[in-house]
Symmetry: C7
């Protein structure tokens, strides 16, 4: 089963932060902050503006995005954990 | 009796999560989170925008939808439990 | 005396839920939740939108409607108890 | 002196509820809820909408109107107690 | 020095209520409610609406206006106490 | 270094109230209310309205303005204390 | 990796305040307020207005900007600490 998000919602899978900090120290799981990075899996058709216009989203499947720690709603489908966000929760796209 | 929802409201019947977790373990009822999946039974005519335009909804009867645990209002009609949501409470549609 | 509601307001008379539950058990009054069903008695001219357009209401006198338990304001006129709601408080219309 | 209300404001004089309940029992003053009925004395020119249009009010002097118990601001002018409401506080007009 | 208020602000000087109540009883200062009457001294150019239009105010210098007890900000200039209100704080104009 | 404020923001330098009250009594610093008068040093390009129009500000550098005691954010640059306000925090301009 | 901010967001790197106060006194770290100055690293495409128009931002990469102490969200990428702000959090641009 896959999730088709509505309007300005975005489906993301969290990407774990690297196990060790830059200094090479292994960060025990508990201390690790919830990862705030994830990969976009699906996007809605767009946000409906007050004048009825539908504005497509800026992010697209495959983007690696940054979002607030407490944003979105976690949903498990077929054993996989997804996070459903509003595009407005997403601060930026990580690009190499 | 059937419910005709108004405007951007959607009538849903909750669909129970599978009894067992993927690992096959039976989840006791109490521990089970309230199911956040349901089937759309009826949809309103659409949302009225500030310019007077009525925008049809994206979800339709028969869709399996995902929504927040605490969304909507539970209403019992003729012994059947329904949940009346705003379309904005619905995060996505589950598609095979 | 009758009440002419303004704009998007709707006058409703509460309809009691059936005395017994489907299983035939008589529900003592106290335990009974406040009925959330009622019949529309009168409707306002419509909601004024920001562009000045007046949008007629979807519900009409005679409709049986569903609304939240705590919605509206109770008003007694000539001994009859009415509930004055905003149309937005109404979730749907019950149709046979 | 008389009050000329601004925009969507309405000046009302409270009308006391009948002293006795329909069953003829005299309701002691303290138990009596604050009257939520009153007569319109003056109305503002109308509500200014975001597009600059001024929309005349639906109520007019002489109407008997119904409003929430705690709505409006009480103002005494030359010994007479008035209540100044927004038209939006008014739920309906009582008509014979 | 005089105050030129901005946009939809109004500069008012409070007018004391008469010292005695209609029944002739002298009201001790402390018990006296803060006067909610005042004379307009200056008005702003008007309120800017979302469409960029500037809408002139309805009140003008010299008007005696009524406003909520706790509205506005008190400012002293050259020893004189002024109250700066939004026009929306003003409920009506007292006219003989 | 100088501050170029954005949009509808205004940079102000506080102007102290006179040391003594009109009656000639010296007001000890602690008792003195925070001065709510200041001189405009720089203004933003204007406020962006929902229709995309940019509306120039009414205040200009050199104006002496009145604002609420707790408005704005204090910022020190090169040892000078500035206050950055929104124009909407400013109630009026003091003119001789 | 670099961050491409969305819409009206701005990526900033904090710039430390000078170690000593103008009077030459060394400010111990703890007492030092969080720096509220930073350099713009990247800006979003612009803010989407209700009429669908996208309005470019006023700040640009390289600008030194002033913002509230508690504004924005801190995000670490490849060991570098960034702050992601809304342009509306930025009060002004520091210019020599």
């Amino acid at each position: 089963m896959k999730i088709r998000p509505l309007y300005d919602r975005v489906v993301v899978i969290r990407r774990e932060e690297e196990k060790t900090s830059p200094g090479g120290i292994v960060i025990p799981d508990t201390a690790k902050e919830k990862p705030i990075k994830g990969e976009v899996v699906a996007v809605g058709n767009g946000k409906v503006l007050e004048n009825g216009q539908v504005r497509a989203l800026e992010v697209k499947p495959g983007d690696t995005v940054l979002f607030g720690k407490y944003s979105g709603t976690e949903i498990k489908v077929d054993g996989t954990e997804y996070l459903i966000l509003r595009e407005d929760d997403i601060m930026g796209v990580l690009e190499s």
